[in-house]
């Protein structure tokens, strides 16, 4: 039995879907977050990989690429003590209110 992210050689006939989706602004922002935190020495690639792998099978299989990154970075930032889940929840509500 292998871990969910360990995909090499899994039997599948699924064709390669070559549609390219236009990156949303938030996805570009997550991509930048990923890059800048590496540049700043805040996280190692290995830590991010581990955080993504640790999301668990349900999240790993149903979330999109950048959704997985977001969930993994939340876990890493909280793990590091940079912020708490409560702070993130609060900020989210605040941003939602600002949007009207």
């Amino acid at each position: 039995m292998r871990k969910v992210h360990d995909l090499g050689g899994l039997p599948t006939d699924q064709p390669i879907d070559r549609t390219e989706h236009e990156m949303e602004a938030w996805e570009r922002r997550v991509d930048s977050l990923n890059s800048i935190l590496g540049e700043k020495g805040f996280k190692k690639t290995d830590e991010l990989r581990r955080a993504i792998e640790s999301l668990g099978p349900e999240q790993y299989l149903t979330l999109s690429y950048y959704e997985r990154f977001t969930a993994a970075y939340e876990a890493l930032l909280v793990e590091r003590g940079v912020m708490t889940t409560e702070e993130i929840d609060r900020k989210m509500s605040e941003l939602e209110r600002e949007r009207g």
Partner: protein, 214 residues
Amino acid sequence: MSSANEHDAQASHHGANAAYYALRSEALVALCVEKGIFTAEELEATGNALDARSPKDGARVVARAWVDPEFKKRLIGVPEFAIQELGYSLHEVVTRLAVLENTDLVHHVAVCTLCSCYPRSILGRPPDWYKGFAYRSRVVGSPRSVMREFGFEPDKSVEVRVMDSTADLRYLILPKRPANTEHMTEEELAELVTQESMIGVTGALEPKPAPAAD
């Protein structure tokens, strides 16, 4: 049980949760800025630097290697220095670049089965299909079947080599220079070099025929 038969939602942004994660990620970034991890300007600059890289950059490097045999030797031998000659450098702190040459005898194709490792510093962001479950599952065991889907079928006498980037080495495939391209400029040659050919699922594009003499 095969998780790779799941709907390939992981590459698409149309997940049911997209709105939640869009706002959640905005909150993460806002808090990072508040707490002084980085500034909004730094984040934007990072995004711009990532936007600035695309397969056109890899194509320039490949075209140069095709016309300049000494550069090609340096590119294969010391890739991280050779790309600096064209103004490129590796951004990531610990990653290394390896350049693998495709020939009449050997055809390389790269993948990261465990995640999505990719030579972003020279090719830009990876395509969705490269990060998707179908490619990551299939190419290691059925590389020729995957290539066939991309319209490419190397002969059985060509050794297909799949490179799985499991460590910090990133692979840039140097496609074979197509025949009948002697008349082309370096810029024109670069236009034959596609993203797919630098990942290795295809070769480079074939040239348009040389203009007929009047």
